[in-house]
């Protein structure tokens, strides 16, 4: 979320740092290229598609069902990025421009309506000057899925279409901008590969950032499931506090996040966090493998949207079990993996929740 101002500290302990053959450097480089950058590209492609989709829908060339599908794809690729949020997307308010959650007081509905009242013919420029709440996927989801709106109605479609098109255009622009910052000699990909650089003095710092992003995401999974469950607040379900309740994609978002957290753990080809720990921490590796498998199996067993599951006592208990699985994964990474790798995790935005 926050930009870290980084100054080179070339004088400090960098001489010991040699890039070739350093397993931390190899792991950082491999994860950056094969997992993190790849996921950014998928996200960018889904936003490209979102723009074409919005335009086709608004020109009457595509139906609402397909338009919703395209949105779900963009939302899914964004969810998959959550454990991989390092670098440009973590800076300024970029991530906030994509999604606004938790939305405790239904700001998305209020602000979309206020925005359209003030800007009946919104432009990209007016959207970009407005609150982040109306700029991203949360507002797009509201327009496409809210039970009180109906885009099959021609007048409503005419009212909301300019907003959909501008949100999609803004998302595409944002994704292109982020991807550009990943590329090039001084780009994020290079900074996770060659050390020292302006952002990271040594591979350990890069790996720390990667693990921290993964841990923040695992912590976030607990919040995303625990909030609608009403966990720690009388255990009374709060379905409208769930992420993506309108599009009924809450659980599929969580699955996408788990898959990406797992991708950081097991990596691509021979380099991964798992591989770094395989020899000296075999027991921990076994525990973490099992914890991922369990979370995946539990997620796969749910066949209905979260809002419906919350109404069924047996399913609700299963969701609490899933929460415990997320908690186990979070703790194993936050404590044991961090300790085993020798990385020190800093404070994050969830602290104090």
């Amino acid at each position: 979320m926050f930009k870290k101002i980084v100054y080179a500290i070339a004088s400090v302990s960098l001489l010991a740092c040699s890039n070739s053959g350093d397993p931390y450097q190899q792991t950082s480089a491999a994860l950056a290229e094969q997992v993190i950058y790849q996921a950014h590209q998928d996200w960018q492609a889904s936003n490209q598609n979102l723009l074409s989709s919005a335009q086709a829908f608004c020109q009457g060339e595509q139906d609402l069902t397909q338009t919703r599908e395209d949105f779900l794809q963009a939302q899914h690729s964004w969810a998959a990025l959550q454990p991989l949020l390092i670098g440009p997307l973590n800076e300024g308010n970029r991530a906030w421009q994509v999604q606004f959650w938790p939305d405790k007081k239904n700001l998305v509905a209020r602000q979309v309506q206020q925005f359209l009242k003030a800007n009946p013919e919104p432009s990209l420029a007016s959207l970009e000057r407005a609150s982040v709440v109306v700029q991203g996927l949360s507002a797009y989801e509201y327009v496409l899925f809210d039970p009180e709106l109906d885009l099959a109605d021609a007048a409503q479609k005419q009212r909301y279409c300019p907003l959909l098109e501008n949100i999609a255009a803004h998302q595409q622009k944002l994704a292109n901008d982020v991807l550009t910052q990943w590329q090039g000699e001084q780009g994020m990909l290079a900074q996770l590969t060659r050390f020292p650089n302006e952002r990271y003095a040594e591979p350990l710092e890069a790996l720390t950032a990667i693990v921290q992003a993964q841990v923040i995401s695992l912590d976030g999974l607990k919040k995303k499931l625990g909030t609608p469950l009403g966990r720690s607040i009388k255990d009374i379900a709060q379905p409208y506090q769930a992420q993506s309740w309108r599009s009924q994609a809450s659980l599929s978002n969580l699955s996408a996040e788990v898959e990406s957290a797992l991708a950081i753990w097991q990596g691509a080809e021979q380099h991964s966090i798992r591989a770094l720990l395989a020899t000296e921490h075999a027991d921990l590796v076994k525990q973490i493998d099992a914890a991922y498998l369990q979370a995946q199996q539990e997620l796969a067993a749910f066949k209905q949207p979260l809002t419906l599951l919350l109404q069924d006592e047996q399913q609700r208990q299963a969701l609490f079990t899933l929460y415990d699985s997320f908690d186990r994964l979070h703790r194993l990474h936050e404590k044991d993996v961090a300790r085993a790798l020798g990385v020190q995790l800093g404070f994050n935005a969830h602290d104090g929740d």
């Binding site: 870290k4 500290i9 209020r110 609150s131 607040i233 020190q344 969830h350 602290d351």
Partner: protein, 445 residues
């Protein structure tokens, strides 16, 4: 195992010599908010005692500061209680203003106490009844037609003051007799955290009323006539409104008395004794966790960034009274107090003693200098926020998307707190305090 390294180690290179640490208050015209200026400039932390202090002494003094802060929060709440009783007994614009000023004064020590909330689970678990926000105030009293509340929250328009019983989901509650126990039990009614029936913000709403000005100038404008028990009563149910206000103010005083006692010396069964019986390392971890969590996740994040980026006055901390700038200032002051081991009491005297700063200075003078510089920078940024508010631009005006200057003030404060957090991590590392996470800091989730 490699050498420990924080993700943002890099700022360490900025070795800055700084003049430390004058105590300061936000300059303000509202005398009720701000105690008299400090009698003398403090230089405690610069003295760099060559005389070694122990970690145990530092944690003991940490508990002293907590006790003094909660004790002030308690005594200023008692003053609020007196003012509220006078107001309810004889409602007028003057008695209402006196009650408002007492509330503002009570916020000064309380906001400085919040640094103890994170890291000390006992405080965090107690806090909900005292300072929960944001709230769906329609649970308590009448609200404007354009009122925005949490979707699906049946309690959001329950209006306890106007009702003999309220229905939330399957729960039907008799509210004919307003007691502290009843109202405390209505917090989080129906499982919604927006249902807040007690605490500072309930009192604030009852004194000021809803701020219907959005991002335009002006705070809540509740009239004292809402408390007149004759035919001039406005808003209906004036007597019950007065009762409600008195009951929640009494409860606040009781809650603060209880927390003050937890930090007092000489009680073998209280939290202070438990904290000091544990290792000093754990105590330091709690202290650092509190400083970092309040700085980053809570103050910079929940209380500023959310409101700023979403342009959401619903997410403003003291949204009825427009006292948010002072609340932020004193939150940050609390972080500083814990690090420097000093607290300026409401009577103007200053409590000093063995500090975390001294430990860090001995272990790594650069880390200490860096953090002191960042604490100073944060206080300066928040002073700019206070000055702007005192000159007519309240926090809710700063977050207007069209107000680029105002937004910048908030962004600068956020940025200062982010840098401060990094320096807190460095200072912790200098003392070998690692694993600054909620689990190890005994933080309840």
């Amino acid at each position: 195992m490699r050498v420990f390294s924080f993700a943002h180690l890099s700022v360490l290179a900025l070795a800055i010599n700084l003049a430390a640490c004058g105590d300061s208050e936000p300059t303000t015209s509202a005398t009720a908010v701000t105690p008299a200026p400090a009698a003398a400039t403090l230089t405690t932390t610069k003295t760099a005692d060559t005389q070694a202090i122990t970690r145990e002494q530092v944690i003991s003094h940490y508990a002293d500061i907590a006790h003094a802060t909660f004790s002030d929060a308690h005594s200023t709440a008692q003053a609020l209680q007196v003012a509220v009783n006078v107001f309810v007994a004889a409602p007028s614009a003057q008695t209402q203003q006196a009650a408002k000023e007492a509330w503002l004064a009570a916020r000064v020590p309380y906001m400085q106490s919040e640094v103890f909330r994170f890291g000390n689970a006992l405080v965090d678990e107690w806090e909900g009844q005292v300072n929960a926000w944001p709230l769906d105030e329609g649970l308590i009293d009448y609200v404007d037609g354009d009122y925005q509340y949490a979707l699906g929250n049946d309690g959001a328009t329950a209006n306890i003051i106007a009702s003999q019983s309220i229905q939330v989901g399957e729960e039907k509650v008799d509210v004919s007799e307003l007691t502290a126990e009843l109202l405390a039990g209505l917090n989080e009614l129906g499982g919604s955290e927006a249902n807040v029936a007690t605490g500072y913000h309930a009192i604030e709403f009852l004194l000021w009323g809803q701020d219907l000005n959005g991002t335009q100038p002006g705070a809540g404008e509740r009239s004292y006539t809402d408390y007149l028990t004759d035919e001039n009563c406005t808003g209906g149910n004036c007597e019950r409104r007065g009762q409600y206000l008195k009951v929640v103010t009494d409860l606040l005083v009781d809650d603060l008395a209880e927390m003050t006692a937890q930090w007092a010396t000489g009680n073998p069964d209280n939290y202070r004794t438990e904290l000091l019986a544990d290792s000093a390392e754990k105590g330091l971890r709690k202290a650092f966790f509190g400083m970092g969590s309040l700085s980053l996740g809570e103050l910079a994040g929940e209380r500023m960034k959310v409101a700023l980026e979403a342009s959401s006055t619903e997410d403003e901390h003291d949204c009825f009274s427009d006292n948010t700038h002072n609340s932020h200032f004193y939150n940050a002051k609390g972080v500083r107090n814990v690090y420097l081991g000093e607290y300026k009491k409401v009577d103007g005297t200053v409590l000093t003693g063995p500090s975390i700063a001294q430990l860090v200075q001995t272990a790594d003078a650069n880390a200490d200098q860096l953090l002191q510089a960042k604490l100073d920078a944060t206080e300066k940024s928040l002073q700019v926020m206070v000055d702007a508010a005192e000159n007519g631009m309240a926090f809710d005006q700063m977050i207007d998307p069209e107000n680029t200057d105002g937004q910048q003030i908030v962004r600068d404060s956020i940025a200062a707190l982010v840098e401060q957090t990094t320096a807190i991590e460095q200072a912790a590392l200098a003392l070998g305090i690692t694993e600054l996470n909620p689990d190890t800091a005994d933080h309840a989730f």
